[in-house]
Amino acid sequence: MQYDFLKHFPKRMKSVGLYAMLIQNSIQKTTWKQYGFLKSDEQINLIFAVLLYIMEQSLREDICTIDDIGAYIDTVNTQYFHKHLGYDECKELGDFIINHILCNEGKVMYFEGFDFEEQKSIPIHISYVANKTVFLEQDFRRTSYYLTDDGYNLLLSTLEIENNMKLTIHEMIFHMHLERQSYDKAVDEIKNIFHILHVQLQKIQEAMGKIRRNALSYSVRDYETILLENLDTIQNTKQKFQDYRQMVKSRVKELEEKNINVRQLLDTEREKLEYLREIERYLSRTIDEHQKILNGHFDLKALYTKELEQLSQMSLIQRFSLRTKLYDEVLKDADTLSRLHYFLRPLFNQDVSKVYNPNKAFQLQRLPRKRQEQDSLEELDFDEESWLLEKERARKEKLKKYEKSLSCLLCYVFNKGEATLAEFAQNINEKEKEQLIPSVDIFKEIMVELLRSRTIDLAALQKERRDYIKDSSEDFQLYEMLLSLAEADKGKPIQRIEISRTEDKNVVTFANIQEEGQLRTIRCSDVHFHVYRKE
């Protein structure tokens, strides 16, 4: 699966579905309005209050009939909500909450959750309250409601364990799994621990952001809880996690040594090793996170103090209201807008105008051409495929130039059998010259390669090519190109070519070569070619 985090998705959807169905059932009902519960917040508050009552009754294994629920709502209402409802209305309301919202009129409720492993959505069964028939005194039958498993889970999840406890609990579980060597579960636990620490760090950062923006919007109580949580995390963990890391490390080492010295590891052991390494990785990250929390803790304290000090200064400032004192007045008279800039001017800064230094005129001025070229390399719209194609095309074009240049030279040499560059230079026309020297770089590279080889044994090269398979190369390869050119030659097979500088140190000049819009003259030493053909 591409995304590992989607693995237990249906499980999560079950928890979410519990809330979603409940709210969905409640929010569309207009019956609420008859009882004066207009806001959905009020409605949901009441539903959960009722659910808690049912839970309480079920835990005590007491009977919980509609009458009981009605009485409960009546009490709660008169004491806290103060809606004008009599006992009978409360009972009706209870009936409505139980039967319409929680039990969906007895119809089964499903929440569709997508299972990414199975690649389809599966219906997840949801129920909050079930009922059974009970006998009150003297065979008087009534329906009693009790909470289902789902209902319990829903209510338990509304009151999370406290944050500091969470860490301890997860740590205990982690420890247990480690002891039992069920490393796969230990990995999950250490991930949880890491997440808890990470959340704590994020909390600190968010708090700092909030304080920076406006320290007053951050309440002292928030500050207190976060500080206490921080302290708890800090003292709790570090030593323990370091011990764990030591332990995990030693176990990894044990397994690794076994692998090297004793025997090949079994598959299960190899799996364990993998898990252990994962645990170690997470442990080190956890310790890092711990360190960051420690730092963040002190930063937070310093920041809060500082911002509060500043705020106490700021609160001394008397401010007028922008809307009533200015905006409303402006709305009455548009002419004021012509003078409004006066009010805004402190906001804007103008850059100081620049001064020209005449000395600049005497400095060496370079054309910014190089820079432009680099800039043009930065493709904004990047399409990798077309980019690669384009690159390939450019490469082929360049190779073509090499080939033309070389063939132009060699055709002449092959025809003559023996020739010098000076001779050739005298006999070529403009078009050939252009072919020979497409650019200075290319011409130079060809000549250097030729001179460096001195003797080229074509027969041997041919043999070599027959014996080995080679990938076509990206760059200019003299021998390969030479071979293909020699094969294209019509005369007797060429045995070898000898290339050398002429003795007399002549200089060959090619004038008026076009390059990048400029005319250039190329000078190079004269070269002597000798072609030996098979007799």
């Binding site: 705020l311 609160s315 402006v330 800039h341 804007f348």
Partner: protein
């Protein structure tokens, strides 16, 4: 009074930095910042230099700002310069007034609070800004109807000019669209370090600088004469 050369140099350095960047943040230039905050002499020298440059040097939070005075056309923007920055070439007075109205509306939407800070919201989308501009323009027009036939600009004209701009769903930045008109103003404000403007998401957020300026300076009761001056309309302009 005798000053140490080091003190003078430090103050000059700070002032030049302020000229270049308009503000000096503690986290970016700790040395200079501390010189300013911890040595009274340096602070006084910088302030006096600011006075000569027809500006005010103030520290709001942990940032030192160079604030040009209202009449300062060298470091601040004169009305004409502001117009050329906010409106595109060939703009009429109507466009300029409208741009001023846009900025003022933006400020009202953000800084309408009476708590310890005047800031009341975290962000605003350009669409909402556009809508509130037209509704306020209409409101202004209604005010005006009673005392018709006054000379000068009227909200009715501005509203007509504003509504004549096309509204473009695709967020075109052309001169003839509302989006384009606002875009130019918002970009200017962003360059001045007053807002963060993400054109892609049509997101406008204010910066710490603007928050500080509104709280400490613009809305400060001590600076209320500025507002009075605008409302009374001094004839000497």
């Amino acid at each position: 009074m005798a000053y140490e050369m080091d003190t003078i140099r430090a103050s000059q350095e700070i002032f030049y930095y302020l000229l270049k960047h308009h503000e000096l943040k503690e986290e970016e230039e700790q040395g200079l910042y501390r010189a300013y905050t911890e040595q009274e002499e340096v602070q006084n020298l910088v302030k006096s230099q600011g006075e000569i440059a027809d500006s005010v040097i103030e520290r709001y939070g942990n940032i030192i700002y160079l604030i040009p005075r209202e009449e300062n056309d060298i470091l601040g923007f004169s009305k004409g310069q502001l117009k050329s920055m906010l409106c595109k070439s060939g703009a009429t007075d109507k466009d300029y007034y409208l741009s001023q109205f846009v900025i003022l509306t933006l400020l009202v939407e953000f800084y309408d609070g009476q708590g310890s800070s005047s800031k009341t919201r975290e962000y605003m989308r350009t669409g909402e800004l556009m809508n509130s501009i037209s509704s306020y323009l209409k409101e202004g027009m209604e005010h005006k109807e009673e005392e018709e036939a006054q000379e000068g600009i009227a909200f009715a004209d501005m509203l007509r000019a504003y509504e004549a701009l096309k509204s473009d769903e695709r967020g075109s930045r052309a001169k003839t669209t509302k989006e384009g008109f606002l875009h130019n103003i918002l970009i200017f404000l962003e360059k001045q370090g007053l807002i963060e403007y993400v054109a892609q998401d049509e997101m406008i957020k204010t910066t710490k600088k603007l928050d500080n300026f509104m709280d400490w300076n613009l809305l400060n009761q001590n600076n209320y004469e500025r507002v009075l001056k605008i409302l009374r309309g001094t004839k000497d302009e």
